[in-house]
């Protein structure tokens, strides 16, 4: 069975500072990894993905994430946080061995609060 852990319920960071939102995963096969962001009363918006290739992937709004196979992690990062980045962030995994419906398994979410 696949699972995702986001160990921090909330991350607080000052505007202009770098931010990291942590994610670790567990799958039987090779993973596809994703980050989504959810703003209040909105749906899930795709940020970035890791499929194969470079371990550092870049996505929307200046976000990036680093895939670390040995640590089974996929932490989300941004060099300089904006107040508008404040939202709920979800990490998700898809196990490549699960090729029937390609379901995503989500972490519990991390609320990012960026203060001016």
């Amino acid at each position: 069975a696949q699972s995702v852990a986001q160990p921090e319920d909330q991350v607080n960071v000052a505007e202009g500072n770098p931010l990291t939102v942590k994610c670790t995963y567990s799958v039987s096969g090779n993973p596809y990894l994703f980050w989504y962001v959810q703003y209040p009363n909105r749906g899930l918006q795709f940020l970035l993905k890791y499929i194969t290739g470079d371990n550092l992937v870049k996505g929307s709004y200046g976000f990036e994430a680093e895939f670390n196979k040995s640590q089974t992690s996929f932490h989300l990062k941004k060099p300089s946080a904006l107040v508008s980045d404040s939202a709920l962030y979800f990490c998700a995994v898809r196990d490549l061995r699960n090729n029937a419906g390609n379901m995503l398994t989500f972490g519990g979410g991390t609320r990012l609060m960026v203060k001016p």
């Binding site: 596809y32 419906g101 379901m103 995503l104 989500f106 519990g108």
Partner: protein
């Protein structure tokens, strides 16, 4: 990026009533999904739908739930007899061969009284 709309945005119903939630993809897609998010909890997979049939479902998706794509466009989730614990945000998602990621609709908030 594919667009997805969902109707209604908010549905209030009495326990035991049937509800139908609709997902309208703007363009044609191959894989369709329903997820739900109970307030304050994680997003949970319900069901995936491919080639006009269910390809995978979770333990949550019991006999009270059904999905169909009746007109080749709208993708619906039906809950036959709603329970209080069905209150949640329900998200439709879709994917095609061009993408590995799933694109989510804005969600329907279901409130069961």
């Amino acid at each position: 990026e594919p667009e997805v709309t969902q109707t209604p945005s908010h549905q209030v119903t009495q326990m035991g009533q049937e509800v139908i939630l609709r997902c309208v993809p703007i363009s044609n897609h191959l894989y369709f999904y329903w997820y739900r998010q109970i307030l304050g909890q994680k997003v949970e997979f319900l069901v995936s739908f491919y080639n006009n049939e269910i390809s995978e479902k979770s333990e949550i998706f019991d006999d009270q739930f059904s999905v169909e794509r009746p007109d080749g466009s709208n993708f619906t989730l039906k809950i036959r007899s709603t329970k209080l614990e069905d209150s949640a945000m329900y998200f439709c998602a879709l994917r095609d061969y061009s993408y590995n990621e799933q694109f989510f609709g804005p969600g329907t908030r279901l409130t069961v009284l």
